[in-house]
């Protein structure tokens, strides 16, 4: 039996409200099917299943808010598993070299589950908690190795007293948040965590886009208006191609560097209500420029309407932000945890250019890379920017 859990759609998500089950008991589901709609700070998200099987039980009622990791449904996969065992090719087809990477990513999740039952607390903290009837399992320890200390328990007691006072003094009030405020809170949480925990280093490189833009103009001549390419598509594609050579930047940091097999570029979309949302464009390295343009045209309006799918919110392996023309010259990004890098493009500017002893005019963009110094060093980042430049000089090969 497979447990279907409330997914985490980013480092900042703590819980979600189940709005609607899209499947019912007995339904057959396969990987990628939408099983439910969940309301999060980032709006209404369609949640996908990653397993195949028959829905055995739906455990959570619609309208219920549950923490990330809560078992929401049970999926019976036994029949499907039998089928897959008869086909040995499935395992053989997976390149062996890629397997450890996938395993490494899964490992910490498994460990967390078994450790959860043991509560590490100092003897003094335990004594005080017992005296004051404080539930230690609800406290996050700040001591060595996350042990709960006296201070943590004292804080919990204080917090409880505060709530008790509030409850007795004022009528319970439903906190009403506007959509803009919720997204603001989510951005605030993620970026505060990033600034607190990630030691950033910053690099900047000026890249000549003259060739790329000229090529784009020619390429667009033969396209119908709807299919015309935006310059950012070239930037996205060149970034993905460069990442193939620098896998350390396409990774997450969680108790160490964990490389990601797919290159899913999170593209920063700013919302009209304020705040930003970062949907992922999946496997960019395997898409051609037209496919990337299609993805963008599909995903940006849905992001603005807050109608993204769970995989689009949680799967990005690196983030790209693009300030657009007429904006600031350079942007220095803040890494989206647990990713280890963010690439930021300023606006494209015409500038004098000295080349082969001649002076001309070219179109330039300032590209910056903010890297997690725990994961990589400036040299890696610098080489990446040089490679990115190389790819953007040859737009026809992208």
């Amino acid at each position: 039996m497979i447990e279907f859990l409330m997914p985490s759609l980013g480092a900042d998500m703590e819980d979600g409200t189940l709005i609607e089950w899209k499947k019912k008991q007995g339904d057959t589901v396969k990987r990628g099917d939408i099983i439910a709609e969940v309301e999060t700070q980032k709006g209404l998200i369609e949640i996908e299943v990653f397993d195949e099987g028959i829905i055995d039980q739906l455990l959570i009622k619609e309208g219920t808010k549950v923490p990330v990791g809560t078992v929401m449904a049970l999926i019976n996969s036994s029949e499907v598993e039998l089928e897959s065992k008869e086909d040995p090719k499935i395992t053989l087809d997976v390149p062996i070299a890629l397997q450890p990477i996938e395993e490494k990513i899964l490992e910490p999740i498994k460990i967390e589950k078994t450790v959860e039952t043991i509560i590490k607390a100092s003897p003094l903290a335990k004594r005080i908690a017992e005296d004051n009837k404080i539930d230690l399992s609800k406290i996050k320890g700040t001591g060595s190795d996350g042990a709960i200390t006296k201070e943590d328990v004292d804080n919990a007691i204080e917090e409880r007293e505060k709530i008790e006072i509030e409850n007795t003094q004022t009528l319970p009030q439903e906190k009403i948040t506007k959509p803009g405020e919720a997204i603001r809170t989510a951005v605030a949480a993620a970026m505060s965590k990033s600034n607190r925990e990630i030691p950033h280093y910053y690099l900047e490189k000026k890249i000549n886009l003259t060739n790329a833009l000229a090529w784009l103009q020619v390429a667009n001549e033969h396209r119908v208006i709807k299919k015309r390419l935006l310059p950012v598509v070239l930037l996205i594609k060149a970034t993905a191609k460069s990442l193939l050579e620098f896998p350390d930047l396409n990774a997450i940091w969680d108790n160490g560097l964990q490389l990601k097999k797919n290159i899913n570029i999170g593209f920063v979309v700013s919302l009209r209500t304020g705040g930003i949302i970062v949907p992922a464009i999946h496997q960019v390295d395997k898409k051609n420029v037209d496919e990337i343009m299609d993805s963008l045209s599909d995903i940006i309006p849905r992001a603005r309407a807050m109608r993204l799918r769970s995989s689009e919110l949680s799967d990005s392996t690196i983030t790209l932000t693009n300030i657009g023309d007429g904006g600031a010259d350079s942007v220095f990004g803040v890494i989206y945890p647990p990713q280890v890098a963010i690439i930021a493009f300023g606006s494209v500017l015409e500038q004098p250019l000295a080349e082969n002893g001649m002076i001309g005019i070219g179109s330039f963009v300032n590209v910056t890379l903010a890297g997690d110094h725990r994961a990589t060093d400036g040299l890696t980042g610098s080489r990446f920017l040089v490679t990115l430049n190389k790819h953007l000089q040859n737009p026809e090969l992208l």
């Binding site: 100092s122 003897p123 003094l124 903290a125 335990k126 004594r127 001591g143 006296k150």
Partner: protein, 332 residues
């Protein structure tokens, strides 16, 4: 100013000498014996001038045989004298261990309480004078292990001046550790220090954030560390154990109940040391007062090196204490 207590600046060596002189003046039964204590003035010049003042009957040079002269001193104490035996360094005292452990420490018990042995044995000890491994070890834990002995550690100038008086009044054998690296160190003490209690540890600085327990050369290092920690808002309590046997556990258990955190600092090697004993007693008697595991800063477990910077690296220094405390409190 007439009624207030005056203070004088004094070296650790001078404080020891004044204590010795006072003991010799107070009681005719007191005499000092040891290698080079007379004509040479003591290997570390602690007894310099005492031969001229008190004569060779009371300041006695002895042959180079620790088992011989320590044994003779124990015999003199049994016969009613008040001998102070100086062993040049604690390392050589191991040659007299048989006399101390098998005779001095056991006689009262084995005689059914009929024989007292009020011998006082002073030992130069400590690390930090580039004397090499064979002259630099911290054997305090060896002696603190033995029932029947009273083991004192002189970590302050006040104790250097006053501890000997009460040691001489003890009916049981007393081992006194004097730290040679501190001999030239000057500190202010009150002029009226006469005798100081020997059965109690001392809280030298009060604090609420953590208890630092130490003895000997650790005392001033820990006090300096506590002063530095106070500048970043960490108020550390510093306790000088003073008596390594019997341990005054009430003082440090009371402190643990107040601060909930403990760091034990000593020069001796970590394994089976004074800090092991302290840590174990806190576990047994103050476990539910602890908010963090008891931590220890001890000597690195190697023979103490000769070269100065390695010697320094082999034992806890002020910075190590500061850093460990910060880590324990802030986890940084």
């Amino acid at each position: 100013m007439e009624n207030s207590v005056r203070k004088i600046k004094i070296t650790y060596r001078e404080a020891l000498k004044q204590g010795l002189r006072e003991a010799l003046q107070n009681d005719d039964l007191v005499f000092l014996m040891g290698e080079d204590v007379g004509r040479y003035g003591g290997a570390f010049a602690v007894s310099k001038g005492l031969l001229e003042e008190f004569g060779k009957e009371r300041i006695m040079d002895v042959p180079l045989s620790e088992a011989g002269f320590v044994g003779a001193g124990i015999g003199a104490a049994m016969a009613g004298m008040k001998p102070i035996i100086e062993v040049m360094t604690v390392n050589f005292s191991l040659l007299a261990m048989d006399q101390i452990v098998n005779n001095a420490a056991t006689l009262q018990h084995m005689s059914g309480g009929q024989l007292h042995n009020p011998v006082v044995i002073r030992m130069g000890c400590g690390i930090g004078r580039q004397l090499g491994a064979q002259h630099s070890h911290s054997w305090e834990p060896f002696y603190a292990h033995i029932p029947g002995l009273i083991v004192l550690s002189i970590g302050t100038h006040e104790d250097a001046r006053g501890m000997l008086q009460l040691a001489l009044q003890s009916p049981d054998p007393v081992i006194l550790f004097e730290y040679t690296s501190m001999l030239n160190l000057e500190k202010e003490i009150q002029t009226n220090v006469k005798a100081v209690a020997i059965n109690k540890a001392k809280v030298l600085r009060e604090g609420t954030a953590i208890t630092i327990i130490t003895y000997g050369t650790g005392v001033y290092k820990c006090l300096e560390a506590a002063t530095e920690l106070a500048t970043v808002g960490i108020e550390a309590e510093v306790i000088d154990l003073r008596t390594l046997r019997p341990l005054d556990e009430k003082t440090f258990l009371d402190s643990v109940a107040k601060t909930h955190r403990v760091l034990v600092v000593e020069d001796a090697w970590r394994s089976v040391s004074i800090s092991s004993e302290i840590s174990a007693r806190i576990m047994e008697k103050a476990f539910y007062d602890l908010d963090a595991p008891v931590q220890r800063l001890c000597g690195i477990e190697v023979p103490i090196p000769y070269s100065a910077h390695l010697e320094e690296a082999a034992i806890p220094q002020r910075n190590d204490i500061v850093n460990t405390v910060k880590k324990m409190i802030r986890h940084d």
